[in-house]
Symmetry: C2
């Protein structure tokens, strides 16, 4: 059947360099464990697997590895749309400014209420959703979950909701 | 295939009385809309559908309807286990005290880090998971999602993680 995976956090800390530079002939010199699959490297791998689009709807986004992944996809020319919470783009360490300055399309939900979603749709087909915010605390400290699936009955409602929120928050 | 449903919030406000007293011969006199299915009435319906067990892992629990549902299941003799975040049991309006005094088994995650999950497993078979905390703000105001499924590949990892966290937080 279609892809169905569940990952729990916190995750062990492991080096993520290889995911970004798979063709490098040099071993990474950093002191972290290498060649280790963790919940986080799998999440990063799913994001980096995008080949045609990434739609991302997150409340908070401070994680540097996830920011690097989004910027890498942008460099590859993959269309990216990010929907985030207005209030939280201003917190310390928010990657939203960096991402926007790179030329990626970001819309902020400016409603009086929080945009509390944390989901991504990769290539219009693969849903990543759960309790996990895209922050360092969430990944290394909190007890969290994500679920990754290509089940159409689960993915399609999120695609529709993303488009609805995207249209509602059109600044034009 | 197995049950797969997705609901988005905020939801319209509607009366939930009928879910608790399905056999009442009297119409509810309250001013809210009646006979309306919303994301929230569907969530409540899934919880109230429990016939053999309810395992609940939530960060924050202040919603009165959800508390009433849990207490109703307890009255019916259905075994309930609740795992929650220590720090958040003390917030204003937390239902954890009421639930514990009713004799329901509650364990608090006392780790230094937040137990940020928000999932439930009904009858060891039906998973309810997503971004939604069991609070009034989450349900009536925030933009949130829940996913309800009986796909074993998605449900079983949550059952295993619940049992693991339950055992880790055994106060005995
Ligand atoms: Zn390294
Ligand atoms: Zn009523």
């Amino acid at each position: 059947g279609p892809l169905k995976e569940v990952y729990f956090f916190p995750t062990e800390v492991a080096c993520t360099e290889r995911l970004f530079t798979p063709d490098s002939p040099f071993p990474c010199p950093c002191p972290l464990p290498h060649n280790v699959n963790t919940s986080f490297t799998r999440l990063l791998g799913h994001i980096l697997s995008a080949s045609s689009s990434l739609d991302l709807c997150v409340f908070a986004f401070t994680n540097l590895d996830l920011s690097r992944a989004v910027l890498a996809l942008h460099t590859r020319g993959i269309p990216i749309r990010i929907l985030t919470d207005m209030e939280y783009t201003l917190i310390t360490g928010s990657q939203i400014g960096v991402i926007r300055r790179a030329g990626i399309c970001v819309r902020c939900d400016s409603g009086a209420v929080h945009m509390h979603h944390k989901f991504a749709v990769v290539d219009g087909r693969r849903l990543i959703t759960g309790s996990l915010n895209w922050t360092l605390t969430a990944i290394q400290s909190n007890k969290e979950n994500i679920l990754v699936t290509e089940e159409p009955d689960l993915v399609l409602p999120f695609i529709t909701e993303f488009q609805r929120l995207w249209d509602v928050n059109d600044p034009a």
